[in-house]
Assembly symmetry: C2
Homo-oligomer: 293 residues x 2
């Protein structure tokens, strides 16, 4: 891939030459891998510590014993980002993929001939100011359910992404930008790559984690921020009708930060004033935190 | 990998040299791939047509547009098997993996720079007679549920295998050979790589497909065979207690054919006479069918 840099277990190459994964890599054969995505602001990674802590949570849920230390992996990410930024001045998207390793076909871990493999992909990321805020994002509550935590826990950020991908394709076919998924009881969980919030009469609402979703780092920081600022907030299960009648709806993710939703199914919304205020203040806080590091 | 041959989009190499998958291959990044496994008897593939028909069913469920024709892929499988058997006299296991392709990170199909990629892995398979029938297989009904068809349909044979892998690891930790999974209503669905049958008072019982399982080709052929032989058979949902009190329990798969279960949770079983009879007759039929082709 053009304009990408790939670090495969310590060897950095251009994305164009990154054709070095084994056919027997378990991420390729079974999606038996974990990953994290974080970005930089002015070249400084944001929330890297939190992302690596969550990677270790995913590993526990996946019974995957990671061979590398957090410090080693962080240093490899920083090295790759630095090398990328020597040629590209833009901020970067950094994805780290941890595969359980390479081995003979078969589930047994005794088949693994090598320890966990890591792959780091670095590429440019869009500037905060370039996001088309007025357009926002148009979401469909799709028929496809989110994975049940008793089958495959969405709290684990893994290489098994077909559930979300198929939700995304369903929404795209119907002309939407992206998808929201419910659990088997009809309660909203999350989007394909983001968490969901709505605002009604000044109260900010989001779904509780046990319904089946990722413990989003932006979600987590925003909730902390709402508490500090005494902005009314509640975590409670809700169905799609609540979104239809909400005053404002927004999503959160490490790449989109706080971002307005402008349509839910057939119901149009305007980017709301509290959403835009949260977006601005949250972004300032992110920058301030990056400067401290 | 030793003693394997890999065909990557038409190029055949030893498994030892098969380090040529792109980091941007969607099977690697998202588990966004489909697969089939079949074997040969005396060098002749069994059920290849059925496996390819099912691959196309999986592709429809996954909204994946396959670029190659069935005839082309079959010819590539046969070519790879033939080349393997020039050096190895044993029968072979053949796995074909279809990846949605290679492209920039992101769900959008517009990111795909190339059409579907195929990878064929060929290796030796154990002889039918070498299976330790008396030992059979010891299975645990694990706590982890099978994927809900409304989230990710188990009828689709995909590269998202963590649900089954984690079920397998759970059973292994508890000292069992492999796992059986229930759906959210507590009804048995299937094992990690096989379908499930039990026999009570001469009646053969298995779970209906809509509960959430693969439409196994051995399962399908066995059901057809039971009908022809007027052996009483019923497809009905059942819970684990039915297995505990069953006279015989067995599994089916393309690799294990009909194979006795010798333990379910704490309940031991002996390989039953009807199971062994079905195993023998089924195997003879498989051989006869291979000779016809």
């Amino acid at each position: 891939m053009e304009n990408t840099l790939v670090n495969s277990n310590g060897t950095i190459t251009s994305g164009l030459d990154a054709n070095n994964v084994s056919v027997f890599d378990r991420s390729f054969v079974y999606g038996d891998s974990l990953y994290e995505v974080f970005r930089t602001y002015d070249g400084r990674p944001f929330g890297m510590h939190e992302h690596f802590e969550r990677l270790w949570v995913s590993a526990a849920l996946c019974k995957m014993k990671l061979s590398q230390t957090q410090d080693h992996l962080k240093a490899e990410c920083i090295k790759t980002i630095k090398e990328f930024r020597e040629k590209n001045k833009s901020d970067v998207y950094c994805r780290i993929i941890m595969s359980r390793g390479v081995g003979k076909i078969g589930f047994g871990l005794k088949n693994l001939t090598t320890p966990t493999h890591y792959y780091i992909i670095v590429q440019s990321v869009d500037d905060f100011k370039s996001a088309p805020i007025e357009k926002g994002i148009r979401l469909q509550v799709v028929g496809r359910l989110r994975n049940d935590p008793r089958a495959l826990d969405p709290a684990m950020k893994s290489g098994n992404y077909l559930n979300s991908l198929l939700a995304y394709l369903e929404a795209q076919e119907d002309g939407f930008d992206d998808a929201l998924m419910c659990n088997h009881q009809g309660f909203l969980t999350e989007g394909t790559t983001f968490n969901l919030f709505y605002i009604k009469r000044g109260i900010v609402v989001t779904s509780p984690l046990p319904l089946g979703m990722l413990d989003g780092i932006t979600r987590r920081l925003l909730i902390q921020f709402l508490a500090e600022k005494n902005i009314p907030f509640v975590e409670t299960p809700f169905k799609k009708e609540k979104l239809y009648s909400a005053d404002e709806v927004f999503i959160t993710s490490s790449l989109k930060e706080v971002y307005p939703v402008t349509q839910i199914d057939r119901h149009k919304k305007k980017p709301g004033s509290l959403t835009l205020k949260l977006r601005e203040i949250f972004h300032e806080r992110v920058l301030a935190q990056c400067l401290k590091n």
